[in-house]
């Protein structure tokens, strides 16, 4: 399995793709953050943190919301061309307001 170093990846393209996804998916998506790090297998990976509106995170909408967001983000960043494993986490706006985790506040 190929291991991709973050320096090899065009980070400007990823940033632009994420911004496009963020704009398109608003207002369901409040903010998309990401970071490069290795996963448990040691493979360089791209971890997305997606802050979504409380309405979008309602239990009866959550599955549709997260599938749609994931597909759009992967398409915009051209994930298949990156050769990186991607992971997604979703948190609602009100949950983050309660938890106040800096990791979820900025890139």
């Amino acid at each position: 399995m190929p291991s991709v170093q973050p320096g090899v990846v065009d980070q400007a393209k990823i940033k632009a793709g994420v911004k496009r996804a963020e704009r398109t998916l608003a207002p369901d998506v409040v903010r998309i953050m990401y970071s490069f790090t290795v996963d448990w297998t040691g493979e360089q990976s791209l971890f997305f943190r997606v802050l979504i509106s409380d309405r979008a995170s309602a239990p009866d909408r959550l599955r549709e919301t997260t599938q749609r967001i994931t597909a759009r983000v992967l398409r915009e960043v051209k994930a298949e061309e990156l050769g990186l494993q991607t992971y997604f986490n979703f948190r609602s706006k009100s949950e983050q307001e309660t938890m106040r985790e800096p990791f979820w506040e900025k890139q």
Partner: protein, 155 residues
């Protein structure tokens, strides 16, 4: 697969156990249980192809998480020519969900610094439910049977 279905139901129960302020223990166990629901769905399906029923539990213990990860990664990146596009999409949903949940299970079980929100956990459980649904569509197809063998044999 009653055991896998029960695990998935239990993961949702854990995620919703506390009405207002979910405990981290409940959320972390919910993630771990959701991963094992998918793990058991696939390993049980795989060993059910083994003719000698009494040997199936022993065979089920031969599965290794890392090898299953490699098999799923290979499946996720493979171009299939022996199945419909719809079947390939369903199989890749299963493989990608397995990889994703395995990572989250690892974090939930071992990273004490990580705090989980209920939405994060419910989203992962929903994705496992989607993987179950996809698997039920393709379970009898050759592409799925070959995938089950890969899970056991991948180096």
């Amino acid at each position: 697969m009653p055991f896998a279905d029960d695990l998935l139901e239990q993961s949702r129960h854990l995620a919703n156990r506390e009405r207002k302020r979910p405990r981290q223990a409940s959320l972390r166990r919910a993630i771990s249980t959701a991963y094992y629901a998918l793990f058991h769905l696939l390993t049980t399906a795989s060993v059910s192809n083994w003719k000698i029923v009494r040997q199936r539990p022993a065979l089920a213990r031969a599965f290794e998480h890392r090898k299953m990860n490699s098999a799923c990664t290979k499946t996720s990146r493979e171009q299939f020519s022996n199945a419909t596009q719809m079947s390939v999409q369903h199989l890749k949903t299963v493989a990608n969900t397995f990889i994703e949940l395995q990572q989250h299970r690892h974090t939930a079980d071992y990273d004490n610094s990580r705090k989980w929100a209920r939405t994060e956990v419910l989203a992962q459980i929903d994705s496992v439910q989607a993987a179950f649904d996809s698997w039920n569509v393709i379970a009898d197809e050759q592409i799925a049977e070959d995938f089950l063998l890969q899970l056991l044999m991948q180096r």
